[in-house]
Structures are given as C-alpha cells and as structure tokens.
Symmetry: C2
DNA sequence: ATCATTATTATGTATATACATATTATGTCA
DNA sequence: TGACATAATATGTATATACATAATAATGAT
C-alpha cells in the first residue's frame, strides 16, 4: 500500500519536514539531490521539486543551484500575518462592528507624513480620522492621510456608511506597501478617543501604500495596549 | 518581440498583478479560466496555473474548483515577517551583538506559563533570562521557560558562549509555533534590565513552540517601545 | 601560479498530457 | 416540486521531457 500509495507533493513535503524536525537531516546538512529523492519517493523530479521549493519558501531549507539543498542553519522562519480589514477582524472575533467618523478634511500634511510618502512638504492631503468599535467599545483609532493626486475621487466621499479603510480597499488598489508595528504611550488625544488613560501603552500599526512611483496613503492604526496580534506557523 | 518573448510565470504573474492593481480585473470579478489565459499568454496551462496559485497564496485572488478564479473582494493580504535570531537581526542592522545571561535555574513555572503550554500546574521547568545588546545597548530582554521533558539535554548547558535562543534553534526543532505581538508598560524589573523608565512602553513578542503533542518552550521577548518591526509587501 | 575559459551539475522553469477532485449545473424519478 | 443521482467543468496535481541558469569544478593559456 505504501509502495504504490499516491505520492502527492504534500505527503513528500510532510515527510521531509519530519526528517528536518527529527534531525534525520541535521541543520546545515546537505540533503540528497532532487533526482535521488525522486527515486526514493518513486515520483517525478517535478514533484520533489515542488515540495522542496515550498519548504525553502518556508525558510527551513536553503537551495542554491549547483550547490544543492541544505537544511537552514538558522531557520529564519517567516511568520505570516493576515491583515484583514478591521470590520472583518472584529466580526471574525464575534464582535459587533461600528465605526465613528471623527474628522474628514483637506489639510496641509505634517512633515512626518509627507516625508514618509516622499511628497512635497506642506502638501494638501485628505486627513480622515475615525474610530472602529467592537461591541461599542473602542477597538482601533485610524488616523489616515490620503494623497489626493492618487485618488481624486475620494474628495467627495462622506464616509457615512463605509469606513475610509474599506472605501480605499474597494476603490484604490496598491501594489506595494510597508507595514510597521511598534509600541508607544497614548497621547492625551489618543487616550481620550480610545477610552484609555493617557500614558497607557498602545499598539500601533502603520501602513504606507503605493502604486509604482505614486504614494497613496499613510495610516496609523492605534490599538489599546491590551490588543494582541496572533499568528501560528 | 513580445509575441515570442520568454513567457515565464513570473512575467505572467506580474502582468496579472498589474491587471488587478489597475482594475482591469475589478475586485470580485471572475477572471478567465486557465485554458483561456494560457492561450492569451501563449504558454502552457501549467504556467498560468503557477502564476495564479502564487497570486492566490498572496491573497489577491480567490480560487475555487469549478467556480473559477476571482479577484479577492477584501484583499486580506498577508504580511510576512521574517523572524531571525536576535543576533542576526542585530548584525543585519550593522550593530555589534552581545548578550548577558541574567539567570539560569530550574524552577516551578508560574501558572501563566504552564497554562499556555498545557502543562501541569507547578511543573518544574528551566527558567533562563538574558539580555541581548546591540552596540552595548539593551535591545531585547528574553525571558524563557523550557520544558525539560522535551529537551532534557538543556539542563547542563551553561549558555556562556551561546544564547538560549540560539542553542534551542540548533538543538531543538519544532513543528508548530504560536507568535503573539503586543504592547505593554515596562514593569520595574523589565525597565531596569532594558535601561528604560518604568511605565515606558515596551513591545513584546511571545512565542510558544511545540512538537506534535509536546510543548517545548515559551519565551517573552521584550523590546524598548522605540523598537520597530518592519515588513514590505 | 594566476587568470580566463569551458565543462559539469543541481536547481529552475516550461510544456504536453493525463488523470484527480471539488463543485456546480443538469436531469430523472417519485 | 423536491430529492437525488449524474454529467459537466475549472482547478489541482503528477509525469516525462526538454532546456535554462547559476555556481562550481576543471582546464588550459599566459
């Protein structure tokens, strides 16, 4: 049965992962070539190749042409966070989602923003601030600056029914993004909006999005310090 | 030239990404089937398949058998953080790495730890605390509990030259892990160790690692609030 | 010996083909 | 009409084959 069992790349990948986990293939060791493994697993080289490539992408193997494949010495394993829109995030956790628009105006952007986006100092941008609530309790304070040149149509949006977050997701694509996580202390304004004490810790996610050569938006998403971002790997 | 240009799945993937970004393929829309695309790009279906699968994995496409492929409506794009060992992280940033062992003893683990790992309350575990420095300045305070049943050989390790982090990476594999990010205020002890003021914000990464059915270790990695985790996508 | 050139080799990718599988659409019978 | 079996279909995967590419090893000329 095992001899002629269906040899899917999943099974092969799993078996190879096991060998790595159980040190049959030790860290740093060179593992057999694709041809050899294909014979061992009695499958096509392409199948082995796919399994190996996925493991390499996961960071447990390091592959180099001609040099061969070896077990990663320092498994810089990648943690993958899925970043959904806030509404989904809240609803997935079983909360009731609401949001409150705090302000929506065209203003001169502060230098911190224009600099990050590579725009001219003092540029007029759309500044939208809103609060996302889960079960009527503050969940995330969103402070967003939008480049009007990139998304001119946003100028006439009122954000009465749809949050800027969601509006942008469905109206403005992006091709590149930079995400930063860090911790900070709540300022008095932030604290008041989030309903926490000033000088409490907050968890901040900053996101910059671009189209090639065109900055679109800079958001600071501020969570109370109790917020937890979880991922499995 | 374009007609007979080499049609790699990379190019095809890029072109499809462009179409999605520029709304040629709108969010939620059904895109052509693999066969059709293969004809359009004049390549094999397998090549189109690979491009589509990678885009689906990135979260911009949603595929379902028989139903076809459509552009994700709410692109829950995944952010991928590579989590290297601290030493590498510091050295990559051009800093000089050092670490200081703060304590290393077998103790009864607090309930917060045993509970998270699914171990018996009051279990004896190895408790190792150390400080990682970048250019002689505190970078990360590592507070770790290790399940001695899973890694008995760690008992006799002194961690004089190699940090517990690195020791475990090279001596104990894991197959599953859970990672949590959050923000908090520094306690007096943490503040002193990290050289920051008590009640300053700190950025905390918690990691639990397991082998199937066997908890290995629980670590709290505490950074000064100024720490930033960055990723591109 | 040193350096440039060439062969070798392991991985990377493309292709045609075949079959598997999940899901939807269809049709049949009660 | 509704329940259930059946066909149709798009994606998913496996395979043999061929060639591309990167990196190393071997070779030869100076």
């Amino acid at each position: 049965m095992t001899a002629n069992a269906r040899k899917s790349f999943h099974a092969i990948k799993a078996e190879m992962a096991r060998r790595i986990a159980e040190r049959v293939w030790a860290p740093g060791a060179l593992i057999p070539g694709e041809e050899v493994l294909a014979v061992e697993f009695s499958c096509a080289r392409a199948t082995v190749n796919r399994a190996l490539q996925e493991l390499a992408r996961g960071g447990v193997l390091v592959r180099k042409r001609k040099a061969g494949t070896r077990v990663a010495l320092h498994p810089m394993r990648e943690a993958r966070f899925v970043i959904p829109i806030v509404r989904q995030e809240i609803e997935n956790k079983g909360g009731i989602y609401q949001f409150r628009l705090l302000s929506n105006a065209v203003e001169k952007a502060p230098q911190a923003v224009t600099k990050r986006l590579g725009l001219a100092k003092g540029k007029e941008m759309l500044h939208v601030r809103c609060l996302h609530l889960s079960d009527s309790r503050p969940y995330q304070y969103e402070d967003r600056w939008v480049n009007l040149d990139a998304v001119p149509s946003i100028r006439h949006e009122t954000f009465e029914t749809v949050s800027p977050n969601e509006w942008l997701v469905t109206h403005s694509p992006f091709s590149q993004a930079e995400i930063v996580f860090h911790a900070d202390l709540a300022g008095t304004e932030e604290a008041e909006i989030l309903g926490v004490n000033a000088k409490d810790s907050v968890f901040i996610i900053e996101r910059l999005t671009y189209l090639p050569q065109k900055p679109i938006t800079f958001v600071r998403m501020i969570h109370p310090g109790s917020h937890r971002m979880v991922t499995q790997l």
